[in-house]
């Protein structure tokens, strides 16, 4: 049972007004609820409509991925991690293969690094679109039937899935990254399709903005809700849009460049407020920034090979007897890292221990800190603004 030490105790949450003899009610939210974005459960202890205490329970989608990856060789791991953060599979693959490349000391050709950047940024747009759609749905009727935004966002997201399907053959899970490069090069004329799509998307983002972040009802429901201050955000290990919305100027793409981000610099979007509105604004601006990055990377896309040659045909050659590496990338949700201890499997063909550092797990651990003091209707908004993906939380 939780004790006082892991809980926010500050009076700004209006908790001092709670009568000690209050008739408390327990509301079980989840694990199956349309607004929990997957299978997640929060036990809410309520005084009337005010949340006094929130006790989250994770693990309803714990699938044992880390155990599975210990069984498989390095090259076999890639399609498995696709399913972790299933809203941005490309980022999952990249985080895994980058750790393996660091461990096995494999070089990645420049063209492959550019392609990874392009995939990663397109995936960021797709992920943020899905988030915006479902977030508007969470607000429900307040936005005049949030399903309009949902339908618009899903329509636009399909365009990106089509682009990925043209490259990899997969609509959802791609398995396109390998240790030392990419498996698929882009087909002829793909870059023109991407540019045409981005030209179409830009005004549509403005349209979605007019319905959400520029909508007074949206603002009223998000402003000042779910405040995470700078210190709490840092201490909880939040990353990505959540951290930047709390006023911390940090982005791994700029601060520890990987792929080709040192050649295609990123402008980091920072908001100071730390509430749900700030998180929404950061994400919407990141979509525009991603569009710019994709355009720039496509313009500078170098010629050459997309993987490190013959070794890719012999995946069982990947062996490491010792060593521990950690590699992290900035996914749409934040710092997704892979920590690998080498030396497992048959003579070092598999990881001995592999840990996926999931940003969503840290995001959800903020809930007991920020939910108390809010009304029930705000719980859904706060949860949506954290953008958790349960596959990544539970793995």
């Amino acid at each position: 049972m939780a004790t006082a030490a892991n809980s926010p105790t500050e009076s700004r949450y209006r908790l001092d007004q709670v009568d000690a003899d209050a008739d408390l009610m327990v509301l079980n939210f989840g694990p199956q609820h349309p607004s929990t974005h997957g299978v997640f459960r929060i036990k809410l202890i309520l005084d009337g409509e005010i949340v006094i205490r929130a006790i989250p329970y994770a693990g309803y989608l714990h699938r044992g991925v880390e155990k599975l990856l210990e069984k498989l060789t390095y090259a076999q791991g890639v399609p498995i991690v696709d399913k972790n953060d299933y809203v941005s599979p490309m980022s999952n693959e990249q985080a895994l293969v980058m750790a393996f490349e660091k461990l096995l000391k494999v070089e990645v050709p420049r063209r492959a690094r550019y392609l990874r950047l392009i995939f990663s940024e397109l995936q960021r747009i797709a992920s943020h679109l899905l988030w915006l759609g479902t977030f508007a749905l969470d607000m429900g009727g307040a936005l005049g039937g949030g399903s309009t935004v949902f339908m618009y966002c899903f329509r636009d997201r399909e365009g990106i899935l089509d682009l990925f399907e043209a490259v990899t053959g997969g609509r959802f899970h791609y398995n396109t990254h390998t240790i030392g490069g990419n498996r698929h090069d882009i087909p002829l004329g793909w870059d023109k399709r991407v540019l045409a799509y981005l030209d179409m998307l830009e005004p549509r983002i403005a349209e979605c903005e007019s319905m959400t972040t520029n909508n007074s009802i949206f603002v009223a429901r998000t402003q000042g809700i779910g405040l995470i201050d700078k210190d709490l955000a840092q201490g909880l290990g939040l990353s990505g849009p959540l951290l930047r919305a709390s006023g911390v100027d940090h982005d791994l793409r700029r601060d520890a460049p990987y792929h080709a981000y040192d050649e295609v610099p990123v402008r980091v979007m920072v908001e100071q407020a730390g509430d749900c509105q700030a998180r929404a604004l950061v994400r919407v601006r990141e979509m525009r920034e991603s569009i710019r990055l994709v355009r720039e990377a496509l313009a500078g896309l170098p010629e050459g090979g997309i993987n490190s040659g013959k070794i890719i045909k012999m995946p069982q050659q990947f062996k490491a007897q010792s060593g521990q590496v950690y590699a992290a990338i900035e996914t749409p949700r934040g710092e997704l890292g892979t920590f690998v201890i080498a030396g497992g499997g048959d003579k070092g063909t598999a990881p001995y221990r592999l840990k996926i550092r999931a940003p969503s797990l840290h995001a959800l651990s903020a809930l007991p800190w920020i939910l108390p003091g809010h009304t029930i209707s705000d719980v859904v908004v706060v949860l949506g603004s954290l953008d958790p993906i349960m596959g990544e939380v539970d793995r």
């Binding site: 049972m1 939780a2 004790t3 006082a4 030490a5 892991n6 009076s11 709670v18 327990v26 694990p31 997957g38 299978v39 036990k43 202890i45 994770a58 693990g59 309803y60 989608l61 714990h62 699938r63 044992g64 880390e66 155990k67 599975l68 210990e70 498995i80 399913k83 809203v87 899905l130 479902t134 949902f150 339908m151 899903f154 399909e158 609509r171 959802f172 899970h173 210190d231 840092q234 290990g237 939040l238 911390v248 100027d249 940090h250 601060d255 010792s322 521990q324 590496v325 950690y326 710092e335 920590f339 201890i341 221990r353 550092r357 797990l361 840290h362 959800l364 651990s365 800190w369 539970d394």
Partner: protein
């Protein structure tokens, strides 16, 4: 729709009383007593008690057993009207499938895409309902774990008859590559009867639509009096019926007790904490070497700096190092990874930590602590709030004890789980009660 359908009864395997583990689960092969019983309500109840009776149901009983049908059929000349009415009902039933998304993972996103603008399953009359009480079809989209299966079962039982189930994606069908792993179940048909399987990982929206159309065909056939047995894979049939007692055992999911409510209120009281940390931190900040390696060598007696791994810090310095790092500006918590190292002499554990200094030119401070078996390590939850859940996860999966952790419970697995799955000696394909 007032028509009861005994054909959908196999779901009711979960009617055994809760909390009585001694009562054996009645198998599907029990004699078909229910079929011959005349009173429809009793028949439903009985068949619910004996569970699925594949191929053992009398068609004359299973078709339309609602009392009003008998009355109507006995009126001269009305049988034609009843038949037409029934066709109308069938048409209505299959053309207005209210889907309940039992969406757990990736397939859930494709399910959403099916309901969204491009594919737009609404035009088939299939709309999404957020509650099982208003739904006809449960679409199980995604991996079902041992922890989630009881919840799925309960939701299934909350759906009114007649109801159907669609297993979407390979995880729901068979468990996919998670099949042999400790936390997942080998297909949802070990928990509830499935009518249509939609293969794929995940199936694209068109496949799901195709699956729904097959379901419509099936509903049509069934209502026309033709018996359509629930498809059961041979391997599933051989499995023991899932431990229903376990599924609905209240012990697995205890409600909030009075004690917990009291603690919830107590949590609102401010407690002074971290005084030592803050005052101590100010003092050391001035004289600390900013280079991590120098710091570790001078202050924390670290001699060896391996090229391919983080340095090992003695356990007694662990908490002090953490506080020092925080004072140096390593505010962002990154990871805790525990690993298990069995050997001939016994077993040891190793816990790796990392924290980050954010902003341009970000740096990562990583260190490791080695522990003997059963030796606890100081928790860092009071230094970085993010360590709380991370340490709970490592405690859950590897079994390392964190001393001073405020809330050391399992995070991923259920509280009654035996063992720690990420230990090296825990088999990856361990037989998991009650499924294997």
């Amino acid at each position: 729709m007032a028509v009861d359908e005994q054909g959908s009864a196999p779901n009711a395997a979960g009617q055994v009383e809760a909390g009585t583990p001694e009562v054996p689960v009645i198998q599907a092969q029990s004699p078909p007593i229910a079929a011959k019983t005349a009173v429809p309500l009793a028949a439903t109840a009985l068949s619910a008690a004996i569970g699925p009776g594949h191929g053992s149901v009398d068609e004359s009983v299973q078709a339309f057993e609602h009392p009003i049908y008998k009355t109507l059929l006995n009126v001269p000349g009305l049988s034609v009207a009843v038949a037409s009415l029934d066709q109308l009902l069938t048409w209505g039933q299959k053309s207005a499938l209210f889907m309940f998304p039992m969406a757990t993972s990736c397939c859930g996103i494709e399910f959403m895409a099916t309901a969204a603008s491009r594919v737009d399953v609404d035009r088939m009359g299939a709309i999404v309902r957020g509650t099982p009480r208003q739904a006809d079809v449960m679409v199980i989209a995604g991996t079902i774990t041992v922890k989630m299966a009881p919840k799925v079962k309960r939701l299934w039982e909350q759906m009114p008859e007649p109801k159907w189930a669609v297993a979407m994606g390979s995880c729901a069908i068979s468990g996919d590559f998670y099949r042999d792993l400790y936390p997942t179940i080998p297909g949802i048909d070990t928990v509830l009867p499935v009518d249509v399987y939609v293969p794929g990982c995940p199936p694209d929206p068109q496949s799901l639509m195709h699956g729904l159309m097959r379901l419509q065909e099936k509903i049509g056939l069934k209502r026309a009096g033709q018996w359509v047995p629930t498809e059961v894979r041979p391997e599933t049939e051989k499995m023991t019926n899932p431990g229903v007692r376990r599924l609905i055992d209240p012990q697995r999911d205890p409600e909030v007790t009075a004690q917990q409510t009291r603690l919830a209120l107590a949590a609102t009281v401010d407690e002074p904490e971290g005084e030592l940390l803050e005052s101590g931190a100010e003092a050391v900040e001035q004289q600390l070497p900013q280079d991590l390696q120098t710091l570790l060598r001078e202050r924390f007696e670290v001699e060896v700096f391996p090229a391919d791994a983080a340095p090992i810090v003695a356990r007694k310095h662990h908490l002090h190092l953490a506080r020092t790092l925080k004072a140096m500006g390593y505010l962002n918590f990154v990871y805790v990874v525990a690993s298990h190292w069995p050997s001939k002499d016994g077993e040891t554990f190793e816990v790796a930590y990392a924290v980050r200094r954010t902003g341009p030119g970000t740096t990562l401070a990583q260190w490791r602590v080695q522990l003997a078996a059963d030796e606890p390590i100081e928790s860092l939850a009071e230094v970085w709030a993010g360590a709380d859940w991370q340490e709970r996860e490592q405690y859950d999966l590897v079994g390392v004890q964190f001393a001073g952790h405020p809330d050391l419970r399992r995070l991923m697995l259920s509280d009654d789980w035996q063992g720690h799955p990420l230990r090296r000696d825990y088999p990856a394909d361990k037989a998991c009660f009650p499924w294997r």
